[in-house]
Amino acid sequence: MSVIDSDRPAAQASRDRKPPRSARSRGGASGSHIPYILIIPAAVVMIGILGYPLFKLFQMSFQNVNSYMVLFAPAFVRYIGFENFSAVLSDPTLWQSVERTVYLTVEVVALSLLIGMGMALLLNRVSPWVKVIVVTVMMFVWSVPAIVTGTLYRWLFAGQGGIIDYICYLLGGKGMLNHDWFANPTQGLYVVVAACMVWGALPFLVIGLNAAMTQVPKELVEASKIDGASPWQSFRHVVIPVIRPFLILVSALSFIWDFQVFGQIWALRENSPEPGYQTIGIYLYVKGFSSSHYSNSAVISLVMILLMLAVLIFYIRQVIKIGAQD
């Protein structure tokens, strides 16, 4: 992660040097209880708001909890074994929403990484004033909250007065005026929602990848050129290996963000996404709160956690290695 840290001011960078390893191992006889006192607040809070809810999630998935039970008849809550699991897992709606989520995630991660990488490369070749303009625009786009992005894109792609329809019309698509982008969920999800997500993801990727690429030693690239490497070859065999840790990090982050997309779709579909727009996160929420089947929703939550962990397991292993190092 030093790749990213090193664009800090020089004064700070001088502090970034690793202290000698012995420096940390204090905890001598006098203060062995101090670290435990220091982590108690964090540990207590995290157990209360994360550990207990996770346990409760697990417990609920074997119970028959719904809003009626919670509000009026808590005494009737009981364990029902794997009934919820068989009900939820045999419901094709779940697998359809998983399928949608996977397609959307793959599309958005691939598109945003490709465009982000391309623009990050481009930023190394443009004039300084152009770079300032691009980065400024990126910062503003980056700062737009997800809910606002969704609201904004609903207006851009609106069937009545939407500017995208009008631009399509100006560009020659005569039938595009008053085109309803949301009528067909396939189009709405994989075009509008994807555009909305890629737009929101690009600033971080472009700025981050560009910063990572400036860390690639110039001498390495020059040496590869002298040895006769084409631009593509030196990119593939010199730049990529150097920025690899950062690439892994941003791929994992993009996956995490895109897989649990919620706000953009929620705002785009005005708080009630149609079934065709339900990714797993939306499906979970609608099932839990619109139909109040808390226990079924708990099973969907578990499925979601497991799916994410299954993809992220390699990343987590790497992160643990890094965490154990220092």
């Binding site: 202290p19 203060g31 809070v45 919670v70 070749r125 606002v148 005026l177 919620f262 705002a267």
Partner: protein, 294 residues
């Protein structure tokens, strides 16, 4: 051609300088085109807020307003819930940032400066929990807050937000504190400071930049959060701005009033936009330094 002076940038030294300049022109054009495409939605949002209702309804939208009108903003400010909800968001955000920083800072000091049993377990846990999707916790959290009597209370939401602020703060501040040389506090202690004196006079001041970066990042996270706020708060005047915006946009009166929707959207994102502009350099490094979640 061989006599042409090459630019010092060696990566392009094999090409003649005038071809270089020509290519730079092409790249500049492509990059500016990209900036226009990326910036257009924001331009359109701002433009929509100052267009008059007539302009908004016209079949052929204009790319520049015929005359400016600020009625969209007055529509937003006349909504009775807009200002109370903005205030709630500020309170919730402030509460979760302050609590998260305080609790997280203590734990960060523990893992950065002390070696104790369970330290690695604690660090790894703080990292892995950031990958648990917030959505999957919403239902159990809701039930817990209901039974704790904190449902529809701002404090309940502040507590719930600690679930993403604390791990982030611990993880980011830890790397900050590790980088403060141990010799500094030892020198202070040699000069007569107590351990706590050394902590308050040396470690804390040096951590302030880290506290600011992490605080700003947590602020943005909490300000933009939607799912928890939407679930845990039910009264109209107790919601956050993001929840207000979705409700406002979906309400029958404003559903087609995109001018007011965009004005509302712009106003509720301003606090975050301003922070981004002020802290942009730090955020770019802070976000990637320790985050695994956005």
């Amino acid at each position: 051609m061989a006599t042409l002076t090459f630019k010092p940038k060696a990566s392009r030294s094999e090409r003649p300088a005038n071809e270089n300049r020509w290519m730079t022109g092409v790249w500049n054009t492509v990059a500016l085109g990209f900036a226009v495409v990326m910036g257009f939605p924001i331009y359109w949002m701002i433009l929509t807020t100052v267009k008059s209702g007539k302009d908004l309804l016209s079949v052929n939208p204009t790319f520049w307003p015929t005359h400016f009108s600020f009625s969209s903003y007055s529509t937003v400010f006349s909504d009775p819930n807009f200002l109370p909800d903005l205030e709630n968001t500020a309170l919730i955000t402030l509460g979760s940032v302050v609590l998260g920083l305080a609790v997280g800072f203590l734990a960060a000091v523990a893992v950065a400066r002390f070696n104790f049993r369970g330290r690695n377990f604690f660090i790894v846990t703080m990292l892995v929990v950031q990958m648990v999707p917030l959505l999957s916790l919403v239902i159990p959290m809701y039930l817990i807050l209901v039974s704790a009597g904190l449902y529809d209370e701002l404090f309940g939401v502040i507590l719930a937000y600690l679930v993403f602020t604390i791990p982030y703060v611990v993880w980011t501040l830890r790397s900050f504190i590790v980088n403060i040389p141990k010799e500094l506090d030892e020198a202070a202690m040699v000069d007569g400071c107590t351990r706590w004196g050394a902590f308050f006079r040396v470690v804390l001041p040096l951590t302030v930049p880290g506290l600011i970066t992490t605080g700003v990042y947590c602020w943005i996270q909490a300000w933009n959060e939607f799912v928890i706020a939407n679930t845990m708060l039910s009264s109209n005047n107790k919601q956050t701005s993001m929840v207000w915006l979705t409700g406002f946009s979906a309400s029958p009166t404003h559903n087609a009033d995109y001018g007011a929707q965009m004005a509302g959207a712009l106003l509720v994102s301003l606090p975050v936009v301003i922070l981004f502009v002020i802290f942009q350099k730090r955020l770019a490094s802070g976000l990637t330094a320790g985050a695994v979640k956005g």
